[in-house]
Symmetry: C2
């Protein structure tokens, strides 16, 4: 316990915008991989997709009724119905194999292939069938109630462009054109490196001089939200060799939480500088001023302070946008933003970017008064955050501010 305690401040703090610009320049969508159709929703495709088939591939009935040659119905009316001989039935997936000629008809269900020779469908509502014949009380023009080959998608159509984040219906469309898997941007693999001898794993009961790790719980959920894949994780002892090994993980992004300041036990910054490059360490922001950014080979390393609010804030500023960008998504804040007046002023300092947790009540924005970066409960009480930019000394009561909401949930449901 009698080790030397080296303590010094940060030589120089970088501006938030400088770090953001550096990261935006450096992080691009990862290479593509094949993704199964049933897993592709939410992923970003890395190729233009064109249809290699027509959908539908056959003319089909858009109605329940009778397939006929349209011209044969000309003159039919309720007063002067025309009669057709019924040859059989066509059902979806079960075509009628014969030929429809003059004054003959085939019963069809919606979606059934139109039999050869027929070119129109008379709706069941204007037909009466008996004794192998059908009486038609309305004329139909050729092509009426017939879905033509390729009416949904034509062979060769460009259906989805590269960079598209797939929605449910996009996957449905891919299915309909016979696609079984798509090329999508690979999901970034994210390794958490959480150190701290005071930490107990999530699910433990806190006690003595130990607290339970919450940062990994928050970070893993945010990584998932942003399209990353969490690699296996355990809390590491604050030992230099262990952290060195962890920083050499095969990952696209390493998030270090704890041990990233400038005190005795803060091995991570020195190790990043030794194994790769420590691009920034110390940022003019509150909280999270001890945050840092570096890289080891192609792996991005983000140093997140151990205090829970600082950790979350530094994630949202630096790590989240990069993980989204690596996944091919927009770097932008992934939830809604709302603009509302401030109920109370926010104080800040020129030259420093502030991340202020706020609640929203009665259409007003209420800064959550709290001193500390260690007060995780402030982020739980908050609806979102307001960023006070470097050039501002704060914001007065009544000023319109943009709140980045913490989720997209509409007003809550009611439990029984």
């Amino acid at each position: 316990m009698a080790r030397d305690v080296r303590m010094k401040g940060f030589a120089e703090r970088a501006d938030v915008e400088v770090v953001e610009a550096f990261l935006a320049e450096r992080t691009r969508a990862l290479p593509a991989e094949a993704v199964d159709l049933l897993e592709c929703v939410g992923r970003v495709i890395a190729e233009d997709v064109s249809a290699e088939v027509d959908v539908p591939g056959f003319a089909r009935s858009a109605m329940d009724g009778f397939a006929v040659r349209g011209e044969d119905t000309f003159g039919a009316s309720a007063y002067d119905p025309l009669r057709f001989r019924v040859l059989g039935t066509a059902l979806p997936g079960r075509p009628f194999e014969g030929h429809v000629g003059r004054d003959t008809a085939v019963r069809v269900m919606t979606g059934a292939p139109i039999p050869v020779g027929a070119d129109a469908v008379v709706m069941a509502e204007v037909c009466t069938e008996s004794d192998g014949q059908v009486e038609v009380r309305e004329a139909v023009a050729p092509h009426r109630h017939v879905g033509s080959v390729g009416e949904d998608i034509r062979c060769g159509d460009l259906v989805l462009r590269t960079g598209r984040r797939l929605r449910a219906q996009d996957a449905g469309l891919l299915s309909s054109i016979g696609v079984a898997s798509v090329r999508a941007v690979r999901s970034p693999r994210v390794q958490l490196v959480v150190t701290g001898d005071e930490l107990l794993p999530a699910g433990s009961r806190p006690g003595g001089s130990h607290i339970v790790d919450s940062n990994s719980v928050v970070l893993r959920a945010l990584v998932r939200r942003d399209g990353g894949v969490n690699l296996p994780f355990e809390i590491l002892p604050d030992e230099i060799e262990v952290i060195r090994d962890a920083l050499l993980a095969d990952a696209d992004v390493i998030l270090v939480s704890g041990g990233s300041s400038v005190g005795q036990e803060d091995h991570a910054p020195r190790l990043v500088a030794e194994l790769g490059e420590l691009d920034f360490h110390g940022v003019s922001m509150r909280p999270s001023s001890p945050a840092g950014v570096g890289h080891i080979g192609d792996t991005l390393v983000v140093l997140l302070p151990g205090n829970p609010v600082s950790c979350m804030c530094a994630y949202e500023f630096f790590a989240g946008p990069c993980i989204r960008a690596l996944a091919g998504r927009s770097r932008e804040w992934p939830h809604r933003r709302v603009t509302l007046p401030l109920a109370r002023k926010i104080s800040s300092a020129v030259g420093r970017t502030d991340y202020v947790r706020v609640a929203i009540e009665d259409g007003k924005v209420i800064p959550i008064a709290t001193s500390g970066a260690s007060i995780l409960s402030s982020t739980v009480r908050a609806s979102g955050c307001v960023i006070v930019e470097r050039a501002h000394e704060g914001m007065p009561e009544g000023a319109l501010v943009e709140v980045r909401l913490y989720d997209d949930e509409p007003p809550a449901g009611t439990l029984p």
Copy 2:
């Protein structure tokens, strides 16, 4: 193939609002189940959660520096520093076991327990240590730079209320108070019943008179979005006994796609009426007029038309809100809404609710001109939908309309 084709129209069509109100009355959050802390984000808790511990459970240093008795520093200044004997070091998770008395100090790192006897921390920046002594150049009041017991959360605090949809930081907070699992609303189990002899399973190549099932692909993704769990699924033959068995599945919700109109092969409505109750069949809407709603025991059954756009539309109107409500979430549209002017008029008919796919270009809403409910590609081209309510004959060019967006994605990222 020579089976009887019974075709008749719907006796009476229900108004959309009537069906919605019926469902809103009938679907409430499911009972709770235990959910592991690491899986709880996005789930809705079904209990108030109070802390059974203080966080932190011990007074801790908020700074790197020296723990002292604050009153002993009074009078210290850069011109007149005071000297303290250094007894040892306290690190996070590794307390100093001795007692701090008059004019003694213990080195502390941020997060370290404050040693017994000390009540304040002097920042390292105003201290100089040498030869077992530390020179202090600034006075600190008692409690300065000390995080007190329970400063984040106090034992007994209500931290999360029932009905809350958990966010990343909520899970972090639960972790910090030693919670390993929470009671959350059970996720509704959803069984798809997709029938159609014309259908090939997703991943197949379409051919002949067969098309590839897209509805199950779309529905499974929407069910996941809405907090449901998809039960195992395969396309069923259009046979009455097979569909009967499927309708008796142990599920909270059954979504029937295809075979839900009033034609010969449409077994599902009759079977629902036979096995339970067919509450509505036929709705005054376009598309999706053949949609229906029923229940078999406690299982909600939603009949979705087989045409892809109708299927998706009926899901969004009737099934989606119920699945979200069963999961404890808001029934409301789960994505953003934007209000913008119409670039072209929308025609509708009084007495019928229309679901219009629209694109957004240059800040204007463009209805996607398409005739058919079978044109899935129209939903892919669309940014969202506009609902034209029953009382309206349509909407003129320039009218402000609310668009329900199909996703929450900010403007797209750039691929390399």
